[in-house]
């Protein structure tokens, strides 16, 4: 089975988020990047498990500039066979999806996996867009994926329960928590990644249709107020007038 796994980078979860250019740009100064966990822990690891069980090849694809090679090498260290980086700034979801679709079109992948979203932008857009551009079926938020011959069985969380879907390959899936378990690369993998092929491909022509105008941070936690146990009416009053929850 030929599998393509889309990976993107996201800031390490402990990053202090700041903006520049009048809050229109993310300040990358001192930011440590990691492979987006949904891509790495679930999409990539499940792809590797499928390959280990049934043979095949796992290719990583990333749309980004040369600094992304570090996270691509990590994905290779975890076990992907080869990688492709489309050399472009990935700032618009449709633009990114068009790049990936343009590459994938010629390659006849059986399965294209993406994470359900990135942990920084939470766009959840790429998987669906790729499937549309390639005219393939799309199953989002998959928590489980098994294969029998050419047929994939996918579980999805739905409100109050789960749903099981069947679909023949080729197919695009976005992976959610539950699909696999995080794999820590080992030293052999890290060394093997040194020599695995990482092909850099130029971007195809495509317009960027959206641009971020302004970022604002969520309000931080406000200070805790203590109310004396002897005056519960004070608590009721504050919940009503200040927190406005009752």
């Amino acid at each position: 089975m030929k599998i393509l796994v889309c990976i993107s980078k996201s800031p390490d979860t402990t990053t202090k988020i700041a903006f520049k250019e009048n809050n229109a740009q993310f300040d990358e100064n001192n930011v440590q990047y990691i492979v987006n966990p949904y891509d790495e822990w679930y999409a990539l690891v499940r792809a590797l498990e499928l390959k280990e069980a049934g043979g095949g090849n796992v290719t990583i694809i990333n749309v980004g500039l040369a600094e992304n090679d570090a996270i691509i090498r990590k994905a290779l260290a975890i076990g992907a066979d080869d990688a492709v980086r489309i050399d472009a700034d990935p700032s618009d979801a449709l633009y990114v999806a068009e790049q990936i679709a343009a590459y994938a079109k010629a390659q006849n992948f059986d399965l294209i996996l993406a994470g359900k979203e990135t942990i920084n932008y939470n766009g959840s857009a790429i998987g669906g867009m790729i499937s549309e551009l390639l005219g393939l079926p799309y199953i989002s938020l998959a928590t489980k994926l098994t294969m029998a011959g050419n047929t994939a069985t996918i579980e999805q969380d739905i409100d109050g329960g789960t749903q099981v879907v069947e679909c023949d390959l080729p197919l695009v899936i976005s992976a959610a928590k539950g699909m696999a378990e995080q794999r820590i690369p080992n030293m052999r993998g890290i060394m093997a990644a040194r020599t695995k092929p990482l092909t850099v491909v130029s971007a195809v022509d495509s317009a960027k249709l959206t641009a971020v105008k302004l970022y604002t941070l969520a309000a931080g936690r406000t200070e805790c107020k203590y109310i004396d146990a002897s005056t519960p009416e004070k608590l009721i009053e504050l919940l009503h007038t200040e927190a406005k929850v009752i």
Partner: protein, 394 residues
């Protein structure tokens, strides 16, 4: 004791990451991820029970902690010395006992076999030591000869086709479960010789040392040799004298210099977080000058040690690091970490003495680290000798 989530992030005040390659950082993140997953959740309990969790062995092998700089053809990872240092830093960030196990296996067992062993010895032992299928220990210290190993009384006698080994070694890390021991003993000419002793050889026993308050997650024991018959092919042919064990110690001490930074970072990380959350007199204790003095001095010392040790790594990669330079870094960094552990313990108040926080464990561990592989004072005397040309310890 519920293990808290380990949310450690290393401080990098001088942007030292920029001095590392992407591969160094990937190695660091890998070892850290393994420590967070497999070590942090159980290390407190292991220490409280004074048990070495055997399941760590496979994990240590997989993350490349056994002989990272040993060439690939012998099962090592063929990495550079900075990678080795970074692995040691991340392991000791978890626990000094864990790092000790990896140091011994890499620098005190694999290194001498690789450097002084015959081709047969290398092929026989190194791949299995790298994979953790064999665990080793290193016997130099004796009950009556610690800082002065050249006075050792363990000895071998030539019996034609084999040697007979007699003597005892004390304070030997990994001894209780090791499959092989690299042992140093004097031959009939009084020359120190190195050899590999295998568990199961008649007359060889490894009683465990109990009651330690330090390195409790690392097993320590004795090596007792009572007329042990040692085949001649188990002797290292190419090395005589104290130079043999000392070159192993050089490699291990270099790793300890990095390791101690890990322990210091963990204490600093915990103290910084705790001081920002702990409220006294209506404000976080981090807002008091005396706490800030402690924290500011900690990060200053950690930063100095990081740069100092990185430079030592570069010299080591170029085969230019001298024993004197390594002594200086081991001494400085371990002492730095111990001082930071003590100050961090103060910042945690009463909580600092419990297993809820890693501080007291690091502090007690570091009491061994400041003593083994050359005591704090002996390393000072090595530097003293290096700069004056006069040995003050003899």
């Amino acid at each position: 004791m519920a293990a808290k989530t380990d949310n450690f992030q290393h401080p990098d005040y001088y942007l030292m990451d920029e001095l590392l390659t992407d591969e160094h950082k990937l190695i660091r993140d890998t070892v850290r991820a393994w420590v967070k997953k497999e070590v942090s959740p159980i290390v407190e309990e292991a220490c409280q029970k004074a048990e070495f969790p055997k399941q760590w062995i496979k994990g240590l092998a997989e993350v490349g902690a056994f002989g990272p700089y040993i060439p690939v053809e012998y099962g090592g990872a063929g990495l550079d010395q900075i990678s080795y240092g970074i692995i040691m830093q991340e392991l000791e960030r978890g626990d000094s006992g864990l790092r000790s196990t990896a140091s011994v296996q890499s620098s005190l067992v694999m290194f001498p076999i690789y450097t002084f062993g015959t081709e047969e010895q290398k092929k026989k032992y190194l791949p299995k030591l790298a994979s953790g299928d064999l665990m080793g220990c290193f016997g130099l210290t004796e009950p009556d000869h610690g800082s002065n190993p050249s006075g050792m009384i363990s000895n071998i006698k030539d019996k034609g086709d084999h040697y007979i080994l007699n003597g005892a070694k004390m304070w030997i890390s990994n001894a209780p479960f090791a499959d092989i021991a690299v042992v140093w003993a004097k031959d009939e000419n009084g020359d120190i010789r190195g050899m590999v002793i295998e568990r199961g050889m008649p007359g060889f026993t490894t009683p465990e040392t109990h009651g330690k308050w330090s390195l409790r997650a690392s097993a320590t024991g004795e090596l007792v040799f009572d007329n042990v018959k040692v085949p001649k092919e188990n002797i290292f042919p190419n090395i005589k004298g104290l130079k043999g064990p000392l070159s192993c110690l050089n490699s291990a001490r270099y790793g300890i210099a990095w390791g101690a930074i890990g322990a210091a970072m963990d204490c600093y990380h915990s103290a910084l977080q705790y001081s920002k959350e702990r409220i006294q007199f209506g404000k976080p204790i981090a807002g008091f000058q005396l706490t800030q003095k402690k924290l500011a001095e900690m990060i200053t010392e950690i930063t100095k040690a990081q740069l100092f040790t990185w430079r030592l790594g570069v010299l080591k990669n170029e085969h230019r690091a001298t024993p004197g330079q390594i002594s200086m870094a081991k001494r400085n960094n371990v002492n730095m970490a111990l001082q930071i552990a003590r100050e961090a313990r103060q910042i945690h108040g009463g909580m600092g003495i419990t297993g809820e926080y890693p501080i007291m464990r690091h502090m007690m561990n570091l009491e061994s680290v400041i003593t083994y592989e050359g005591t704090h004072d002996i390393h000072l005397l090595i530097t003293g000798m290096d700069v004056t040309g006069i040995a003050a310890f003899e």
